[in-house]
């Protein structure tokens, strides 16, 4: 495997999206290529930063209530909208 091909597999490997044979080939390349190894580590760290630092917001209570009503038909309005629109 050359660096160009390995480069295209870096993200997929970080995300666990390679087939076992692709993964094996890719890892073999990493063993012998320092540059790709660095790139691979960088991609992993980048993913980690995004996962750790981007805040995940929760839906406000009012929204949860209104969605529950929507699917539970607790209000006449929603019933009309959903059934006959």
């Amino acid at each position: 495997m050359n660096c160009k091909k390995a480069g295209m597999l870096i993200s997929a490997s970080v995300d666990g999206e390679l087939s076992p044979s692709e993964e094996q080939e890719f890892l073999l390349h990493l063993v012998e290529c320092k540059e790709c190894r660095i790139e691979f580590d960088d991609a992993k760290k980048t993913k980690m930063i995004i996962q750790e630092k981007i805040i995940q917001f929760k839906a406000p209570d009012a929204l949860i209530v209104s969605i529950m009503q929507l699917s539970g038909f607790n209000t006449k309005e929603h019933e009309e909208t959903l059934l006959y629109e």
Partner: protein, 208 residues
């Protein structure tokens, strides 16, 4: 629906007392399958619109549509991915038309967004007066938003929402190979943006 559909007649007749059995079952199934993803959808909508009330509208609209078309949801497939796709289409139809120039990053908007949203509930557990932490978040958020949308989108869907490449490919209507290369290129760009950040906050020191 066909006017002569017998279920519809029944439904109309008994509307006041109760819904048809199928309708009840649909409700129940919808609640089990779809409502579970409410937080993820709201979070995604908020990151897209950067405005809490727009995000709520978007989520409302998404659930309304999802319920209406719930019969076309393929059982056994990923309901979260299905909902995200509906939300994304809604977003494009409603908000993107009158958005600002693509590729331009409005740092003030991001700053405002972070400051209005900082006090609301989040999944990240941190003390409320942890201003230092929110500054860190802001820096990463700006880096993410500096990416062209096609790259930012796949990174969000993959890293934040945890979708598989196949699901992402379906959502963005591109082949898996395209998703792969967008993630690769997007992460490279992001990496360059975050280089200083990673050095400053020790992400480059914790070698495994």
């Amino acid at each position: 629906m066909d006017k002569t559909d017998p279920t519809r007649q029944t439904k109309t007749r008994t509307k006041k007392e109760s819904l048809s059995r199928e309708e009840r079952q649909k409700q129940l199934e919808f609640q089990n399958e779809a409502v579970a993803h409410l937080n993820a959808l709201y979070n995604y909508a908020l990151h897209l619109t950067m405005n809490p009330s727009d995000a709520e509208d978007l989520v409302q609209e998404t659930y309304l549509k999802a319920y209406r078309f719930f019969n076309s949801f393929e059982r056994g497939t990923n309901c979260k991915a299905w909902l995200f796709k509906i939300l994304k289409n809604n977003y494009i139809n409603r908000f993107r038309k009158n958005s600002k120039e693509p590729g331009k990053v409005d740092y003030d908007l991001i700053k405002d967004f972070y400051h209005t949203i900082k006090d609301t509930r989040s999944d990240t557990s941190e003390s409320e007066n942890d201003y230092f932490h929110s500054l860190l978040h802001e820096e990463v958020y700006q880096a993410l938003h500096s990416l062209p949308e096609e790259f930012r989108e796949v990174i969000q869907l993959c890293d934040i929402e945890g979708f598989t490449y196949e699901e992402i490919a379906n959502m963005v209507e591109s082949p898996i190979g395209t998703v792969r290369s967008r993630l690769y290129r997007g992460r490279k760009l992001l990496r360059a943006q975050l280089e200083g950040y990673a050095n400053k906050y020790g992400f480059n020191n914790n070698d495994q």
